[in-house]
Subunit: 359 residues, 2 copies
Amino acid sequence: MSEREPKPKRPPRAVDVAAAAEVSIATVSRAFNSPEKVAPAIRERVLAAAKAMGWMPHAAGSALARRRTSIVGAVIPTLDNEVFAAQVGAMQTAFAERGITLLLSCFNYNRDQAFDDVQAMLARGVEALAIVGEAHRPDLFPSIQARHVPYVVTYSHRPDSPHPCVGFDNRQAFRTITRHLLDLGHEVIGVIVQPTAGNDRVAARLDGVRDALAERGLGIRPQHLCEGEWSIDFGRQSVRAILATEPRPTAVICGNDYLAVGALLEARAMGLAVPGDLSITGFDDIAISRQMDPPLTTMHIDNREIGRRAAGYLLDCLEGGTPSPPPPLPPLEPTLIRRGSTAAPAAGDVASGGIAGQG
Amino acid sequence: MSEREPKPKRPPRAVDVAAAAEVSIATVSRAFNSPEKVAPAIRERVLAAAKAMGWMPHAAGSALARRRTSIVGAVIPTLDNEVFAAQVGAMQTAFAERGITLLLSCFNYNRDQAFDDVQAMLARGVEALAIVGEAHRPDLFPSIQARHVPYVVTYSHRPDSPHPCVGFDNRQAFRTITRHLLDLGHEVIGVIVQPTAGNDRVAARLDGVRDALAERGLGIRPQHLCEGEWSIDFGRQSVRAILATEPRPTAVICGNDYLAVGALLEARAMGLAVPGDLSITGFDDIAISRQMDPPLTTMHIDNREIGRRAAGYLLDCLEGGTPSPPPPLPPLEPTLIRRGSTAAPAAGDVASGGIAGQG
DNA sequence: TTGTACGCGTTATCAT
DNA sequence: ATGATAACGCGTACAA
């Protein structure tokens, strides 16, 4: 056996660097965390030694001593929706700039999963949490508050929410888009939405549609409402179902762009003209929407901005220290993007739909 | 001042639970980590006390004592591409089942970013790493190996790669899809790809196209090759540019489905028939591809399976212990999905393209 | 079965 | 400016 290191298996520790640089372990720590407090010559020596043996402070020990983990968590339904992927991407970027690591949970619209994931995150010592939506298990937010962990609810912004939230008013947004169709002259309108159960955003959207319809004395007929998974395929089958009913809608409002893309594709496949025979609206303004033929009328949501604001708010909480009460967050303003998929209904259709009122 | 707890700010620790349950701190730990080693009655008492004060083992302390962090890292280019989002989602699920937390890095096709992210992950004590692609900074993999951290390269599978990888042979896959077009009778073929710089997968794909063309004595003419960001818009502008050249291609091969979707939409917008006037192929089989009109011929990649396999491999490394050399990983087989966007070229077009050979 | 005591790797306080 | 040393919160030999 030669003299060379028998098993360098174990990663180097601060003491090893200290020995190599012939300084104390405290100096090693300082050289990394407050370089200005150590003499340049020594600092160089330490840094060189560290680089030579590939040492870097181990986060676990560091977190313990510092009492800061520099970890925050993001809790979203799924990465399969471009909307949440964009939010997470923006948050990650914002946090990375401050040396904070983002922990991700995809709960797949399952409340228990979301709860468990949050507990795991708390155990990991997350210093803050961003959570999509507020329709969660009743014990979720209390479990976070009990630990005094700051949090935000994203993608939603009820005026009277008990939680700090960064997002927009889903209900108001759907009032806007519904009025757009009403102003064009539509009176019989179909609606395709995601499951409302356990999804506060979708419920709010549906309420918004009802609000706007009620203003004109109209309502949603049961046969004109389809509720199911947000997928292009569900959009397709739903529009087919809705168009088979009487009175036949001249427009369809979709709960998001995936559904609307499906509705648009299927309507065209059925030989219908869009918007001539049927107007279609979406929500979110995902990448594909403006590429469709005709391009989709939808509400644009700046999801990267939501991510940035959520991160900014949480960073304020962390850096502002405990005393300062978090500043209030203004809602984002979704903007109606009028594109080719909506227009006035054909004359005959309007007449036949004149008695669309339902309640 | 009443007698109630002055400042319960600090989260409870194991000692607090121990005191409440009137046991030692060791028993608290055991009650959570090896329940069978503690008497049922005591166990209940401990668990109850813990639940009452909302205690759970703090990961940092636990990691330090155990010398295991139960964290692994995933390094991908971006979440904006459905392909990587699916991989990450699958990995996260697989790891979560084993109580392992997934740390995510999106390096945005920036090698330095990838390197820095990996260093940060190593500092966090990741026990394993999954990394998309192998075209990284030359010091990336050595820095991982130096720490004896097991890793896999995903989304790629060169037969002679020095790294364990889970993916498919990009070159072979593009040979297949190119031959598909050649067999249909196409001889003048345009190519639209992502940037090859710093992206081994794309370079391999381009090589695959060249391989298949060369088999028939053909090549890619410079004016028929567009390289740029993978986006629907770049697909659109590229197909327009390519179709303005002579000889005019009868088919276009795209480096991924986003580009192909753009090419398809633009070709139709230009009034061309697809596949009548132009055949188009994609790659990945993203969700929108089969929805297009005509649906896109593409190669199907099971990205969730890639994620699962990568996770499975890394779990084997972790649980198998140090001695066992990791088992070899077979490549996945992408499958050609023939849909409506490809067909034989029109007779006239074939004739005019007879001299497509270039070298 | 339960308790004692030490170690995990780093940071921070306090001398020097 | 630098060094010694006590936390930080938990797991686990080892002893009882």
